[in-house]
């Protein structure tokens, strides 16, 4: 079984102190574990469940309910392109095709070198500067194919 780092455990306890019921810290705990391990594999989820004091099934159920918890390994960079209506109106679908070609993978996949995961996502609150995407925690706005090429080569 996996053990969580001292850092992660501390963060979980800090979160738990904010609620009358420590179960409420399950989401924060999953975030902390994902930050440590890069993904939430079943054994990571089990370790989190134990620390919080809920069943693995409960923690598993919560993890699968939310789109931002990675249930399988992802690349070093997770490219999340919004294709919801404002972004689609401004050409996001062409950019999705461009990204697929450029990275040589389909949406939902990770490049063989483990560098990039490509994901189509719902609205990321950047509709006034559409099309928009997020890579890890950085937002990119008013995208064009050329802009995307520049951003990706900056990361390689």
């Amino acid at each position: 079984m996996i053990t969580l780092s001292e850092n992660t455990l501390q963060e979980i306890e800090r979160a738990a102190s904010k609620y009358v019921d420590r179960k409420s810290a399950l989401m924060a705990a999953l975030w902390a574990a994902q930050a440590e391990f890069g993904q939430l594999s079943p054994d990571v989820i089990e370790a989190v469940a134990e620390v919080i004091g809920v069943s693995s099934a409960h923690a598993q159920g919560l993890a699968t309910y939310h789109s931002l918890y990675w249930k399988k390994p992802v690349g070093k960079y997770v490219v999340m392109l919004c294709t919801n209506i404002a972004c689609t109106l401004m050409g996001a679908e062409t950019l999705l095709e461009h990204l697929e070609k450029k990275l040589g993978i389909h949406e939902g996949e990770t490049t063989p070198d483990g560098m990039f995961t490509l994901q189509e996502v719902e609205c990321i609150g950047s509709c006034g500067n559409a099309p928009a995407m997020v890579i890890n925690e950085t937002f990119y706005y008013d995208l064009t194919a050329e802009k995307i090429d520049g951003i990706l080569s900056g990361l390689r």
Binding site: W31, G61, Y69, L89, E93, E122, C123
Partner: protein, 429 residues
């Protein structure tokens, strides 16, 4: 109409406004002194008198919601800021989460004081990582300055505040699902009664308000209900942040009085349609609200007027489509969103959105049949009457409204076996 003097977005261009000292130097946290002088009952009365209605989508009168909670004799009470901002095309709360966090915190303290809430959470969508850092830093600062914690500024009032970070799920923005999620469960709709005013977070009396609703409260206290209530429409007064997107020359956030017309919003503030094209359709209040047409341009953006037009103001997120857009394609994409976000509990919502995605995709891709339009309408009616929560109803609106106003577009797709704009509906996971 001209640009109004900014109230909510007045700090938008002030550097470092996330720092509490800068915020205080710009008049921040002033409403606390006034509120503590007035006393909780008078603050509640002032908010009621202002006519403030919730800006999260349902537009329920804020003062009335608070009153229900005040009347319950059970403690502690909770105040939760709904910062889930999940309605597609909505981006109006983000400035307070990433740039001007103290405005939200100040609004929450004053609101909690009126409600008698001693505990607060900001339920923040997982998609705003910057907001998570900014809000946490601002809360730390507010504790240090005794704006939060025990006996705030020496008053007989204590309030604790923390951020709860979501992780991507539209339904968690619905108030009762949000509370489930706050309690560490899967965010699913709770059937009422019991109501949140008596049995909310952790079984305690709870108020959930949208971020923008709470931000307005300090301004009501500072400027008075009469001044605040004189702005905008009578039935739904006040300043409002309209987020406009799509085929516009100048998309973005505009703070305007309630009751601005769609025409002003699109042509005056948004600079008109991109590249001088013609307007085709408008979604006035987020993807869950019914589409409108150029015929509706003189409608006022307020609760009553949009309702009378068969739509809703929703979050005030207006998305504009020019003649270059394919309505069928947009409805398909909207439905893919609802299918993805359906929590799966009610069969009509889960199966119905799935079915509609498939039908809309086949119409868009040239395999549609004439009967499909009737099937879409039937599925909508089944969802409408048989679902637990308003997500299902929201999914129905884009379909029924587009079939009403743009039926010929659907028919053309079916007749010519494909999309006249050459678009295709992709397979989605």
């Amino acid at each position: 109409m001209g640009f109004m003097e900014k109230i909510l977005l007045k700090n938008a261009d002030v550097p470092d406004i996330n720092d509490i000292d800068v915020y205080v130097a710009h008049g921040g946290y002033k409403s606390l002194d006034k509120a503590f002088q007035m006393g909780p009952a008078a603050v509640l009365e002032e908010v009621k008198r202002s006519g403030l209605r919730g800006r999260g989508g349902a537009w329920f009168p804020a003062g009335m919601k608070w009153q229900f909670c005040v009347e319950v004799n059970k403690f502690p009470k909770y105040l939760i800021a709904n910062a889930d901002e999940g309605e597609p095309a909505t981006f109006k709360d983000r400035p307070f989460l990433e740039k001007d966090p103290h405005q939200l915190i100040e609004g929450m303290i004053v609101s909690a004081y009126a409600i008698g809430a001693s505990k607060g959470y900001i339920y923040l969508r997982g998609e705003y990582p910057t907001g998570y850092k900014v809000l946490n830093a601002a809360i730390d600062q507010a504790y240090k300055k005794n704006m939060l914690g025990q006996h705030i500024k020496g008053a007989d009032f204590s309030f604790d505040l923390a951020v709860h970070r979501g992780a991507g799920a539209y339904i968690c923005g619905e108030a009762s699902a949000l509370i489930e999620s706050l309690e560490g469960k899967r965010g699913q709709f709770r059937v009422r009664p019991p109501y949140m005013a008596t049995h909310g977070a952790f079984g305690m009396p709870t108020v959930v308000n949208n971020v923008e609703t709470l931000v307005n409260v300090s301004h009501i206290i500072n400027g008075g209900a009469d001044w605040w209530g004189s702005i905008g429409s009578k039935d739904s007064p006040g300043p409002k942040i309209f987020g406009i997107s799509g085929h516009l020359q100048r998309p973005g956030l505009y703070e305007l009085p309630m009751g601005v017309t769609l025409r002003e919003l699109i042509y005056e503030y948004g600079g008109g349609i991109k590249d001088g094209r013609e307007l085709k359709a408008v979604i006035p209040g987020g993807v869950s609200t019914a589409m409108l047409t150029p015929e509706h341009l003189d409608i006022k953006m307020d609760v009553k007027s949009l309702q009378a037009a068969g739509s809703a103001i929703g979050s005030g997120a207006t998305t504009v489509m020019s003649e270059d857009a394919c309505v069928v394609h947009m409805v398909w994409r909207a439905m893919a969103f609802f299918y993805h976000e359906s929590c799966g509990r009610c069969t009509p919502c889960r199966e119905g959105t799935d079915w509609m995605v498939k039908i809309l995709a086949r119409i868009e891709n040239g395999a549609g049949r004439t009967e499909d339009l009737k099937i879409l309408e039937d599925v909508c009616h089944t969802i409408h009457n048989n679902c637990f929560c308003p997500l299902g109803e929201g999914a129905v609106n884009p379909v029924l409204s587009s079939l009403k106003y743009f039926r010929q577009d659907f028919e053309e797709h079916i007749r010519t076996r494909g999309c006249p704009k050459g678009l295709r509906a992709r397979a989605r996971h």
